[in-house]
């Protein structure tokens, strides 16, 4: 009996580690044990499945491609029946003997990198932060925003108290305004106006304003390193320096005990610098339910402007919104129906669908892909396109997977696509000027440099009027058309004047904050 109890325990341990139980050596011949294993699996099936690491699909595709191509080369294509007959066959994963060799090689590689880069260990802070943030279930804190100028003067801008539990949150500003989203309803209590405004639950820009996850993501995305330790709000922290390419470095302080970010300081721009600090932060502790209960104070008026309705089924949403949405395979967690649109909530990702009106105009600075046979706008964390008379926008981390379920032909911009080499005339670029321009844009000046159409228009008009553009440009914006934008390179056709096509590149930063530079053109 004791042996059976241990076997069952080992079986549970193996499944908890997401390992195949057979490998723990507890394969047994016992009807009762088999039924117990089955019961273990049944209970575990109540949990969400443990998904593979990101990149699983790409790794799978790579292994399949290699295997098919190797077979092609060796000319030993098996027939399907041979494969299905359960013959001994190579697994797609590496042969077992390779694991120690590969592990040794990996260790040597890691050692070499560590020797050449003394910051290797310290960079783990950003990774640990991302993990800690993803494990955050609830928190309560006070966030303070302070600004200081070049002269060293500092002042408090505002202070907010935050409560967050899963999808629900409440924010109280120091002027008494309270914004609450309890998952079913979002509202704002405005004591100055003695009013309660009912707001749409989704999409929710308020949450993005203080979400700790964004900073963790950015820290991993850009080059970063630990530059010291400091005590912030009584907490021992690691100070991370984050350097966006071509921009000014900024700092993030990560609590050494919880691995959570507790302070961020922007670079000094236009003689001003802002610091956001969690002067108190309690994590994963109970938050009182009454905070999220909708109880308008007595005597307050209710302001309501189509906040949408949470509905139980898509069919109900159809009755309210008046159109049938296009749905991905996975079921949304919630559906919010408005009179003219529908919002499908997938947790961290939101799909908004509206009836298409007028012609589709992608943001000039967006990268362009393809979806449903038409253009796909790729802009910050969102994808937008038209399909079956609807305009669909998907925002959030799962945007590509969900969008591809709605539009199976979805093609993202080919970043590796080399447009620039096609230019008949190459334009030399002074990188010092580009860097200076990027910093200028980061400070909030000359934002037109983020728009490839505007950069191309300036370039072409300076060719026409080398002495400078005075008043309206000779060749107006209507003559410029974005032909292709991969996010890193763009081509713009010009319908009149001495230039037929302009080629541009984001030379410093290939994201929405990077400026465009003209690197070539085709004369007419």
């Amino acid at each position: 009996m004791e042996r059976k109890e241990s076997i069952v325990s080992e079986y549970i341990d193996a499944l908890n580690k997401e390992a195949a139980p057979g490998k723990t050596g507890n394969g047994v011949n016992d009807q009762e044990l088999e039924q117990i294993f089955s019961a273990v699996r049944a209970v575990k099936s109540l949990k969400e499945p443990a998904l593979p690491d990101s990149g699983f699909a790409q790794g799978l595709a790579e292994k399949l491609t290699t295997r098919i191509q190797e077979r092609e080369r060796s000319g030993t294509v098996r027939n399907a029946s041979g494969v299905l007959a359960g013959q001994s066959r190579p697994k797609l994963s590496r042969p077992k003997w390779m694991i120690p060799a590969a592990a040794l090689a990996a260790c040597l590689l890691i050692l070499a990198v560590m020797v050449s880069s003394p910051n290797m260990f310290r960079n783990d802070v950003a990774y640990a932060m991302q993990q800690a943030v993803s494990n955050l279930s609830s928190y309560h804190g006070v966030l303070e925003m302070r600004s200081n100028n070049q002269a060293g003067e500092e002042w408090l801008v505002r202070r907010a108290e935050l409560w967050s539990v899963g999808d629900r949150y409440a924010v109280r500003q120091d002027d008494g305004t309270v914004t609450v989203n309890n998952g079913d309803k979002k509202w704002q209590v405005r004591p100055q106006e003695k009013a309660v405004a009912i707001l749409p639950v989704l999409p929710d820009p308020t949450r993005q304003g203080f979400d700790l996850r964004d900073e963790a993501q950015r820290a991993l995305q850009y080059p970063h390193e630990v530059v010291g330790s400091e005590v912030i709000a009584g907490r021992d922290t690691s100070k991370l320096e984050i350097r966006p390419p071509g921009g000014l470095a900024y700092h993030l302080w990560v609590d050494k005990q919880t691995d959570l970010p507790i302070q961020i300081r922007t670079p000094m721009q236009n003689s001003l610098q802002t610091t956001y600090t969690f002067i108190s932060l309690e994590v994963n502790s109970p938050v009182e339910d009454h905070l999220f209960a909708y109880q308008p104070p007595q005597g307050y008026k209710i302001v309501q402007d189509d906040p949408g309705q949470l509905v139980a089924t898509v069919e109900e949403a159809v009755l309210i919104s008046g159109f049938a949405p296009l749905l991905p395979d996975a079921a949304p967690k919630r559906v919010l129906a408005f009179q003219d649109r529908m919002v499908l909530d997938y947790g961290d990702t939101t799909i908004t669908e509206v009836s298409a009106q007028g012609s589709f105009a992608p943001a000039p600075n967006s990268a362009l892909g393809q979806a449903a046979g038409g253009p796909l706008e790729v802009w910050w964390e969102g994808l937008r396109w038209r399909q079956n008379g609807l305009e669909i926008k998907v925002t959030g981390p799962q945007r590509v997977a969900l969008a591809a379920e709605i539009a199976p032909d979805l093609t993202l911009p080919q970043v590796s696509h080399d447009l620039v080499s096609q230019a008949q005339v190459k334009v030399s670029v002074d990188m010092d000027i580009v860097r200076a321009n990027q910093m200028q844009v980061d400070r909030g000046s000359s934002p037109w440099q983020l728009d490839p159409l505007h950069v191309a228009m300036t370039f072409v008009n300076l060719k026409v009027s080398p002495q400078g553009i005075i008043g309206e440009p000779e060749i107006g914006s209507a003559s410029f058309k974005l032909e292709l934008n991969t996010g890193a390179q763009a081509a713009i056709t010009v319908s009149e004047g001495p230039v037929k096509k302009v080629y541009l590149q984001r030379l410093l930063r290939q994201d929405e904050t990077g400026i465009w530079s003209v690197v070539g053109y085709d004369p007419r």
Partner: protein, 195 residues
Amino acid sequence: MTFDNAYSSVFIKPIGIKKVKVIRTNILLKAAQGDAYSIEELCLALWEPVYRFIYHRVQNREEAEDITQESFARTLAYFRNHGEPPHNVLGYLKTVGVNIIRDSWRKRQLQGKVVNWEDVKPLVEDNQTELVQRLRIESALERLKPEQKTVLQLRILMGCSVADTARQMGKSEAAVRTCQYRALQTLARYLDDVD
């Protein structure tokens, strides 16, 4: 029939309405010939439903990843040899996955080990069936003694070690192992009763 019932039967369907995934035939055939782009497109589109389907049966990531890989490999081999993909590619991939699980379990049976075939029988795929299964397991759990329920929650649903569970329940590790064994024996019986 009341108005409410009539309304429900006509209009109300669960939110999780499945849409049939459309993968273009030429993508499938090119993938079978080893075209990297088409293989990636196929994997990106279908890995998750296949993986989830297999995970549901094996309940561990290691086997689910291996069997998902094998299912895609065998499916592409089939396309290549028959020159024509089946009408429902996702259904075919899942069937191949079930066959692989069966093969591996059959090997265990040949080695004299007992297997529970109920676990690999293909399920009717709809939300209703999933919901019924879930309810069946949840109601069986509810029938357990509170202590038995707690031990399964801690060990399986929360993934605690025996030592952590013992600490939280104020028991010895041996007592936790005995309690979880008895809880699972009873649960298996309840699940069997419902079947």
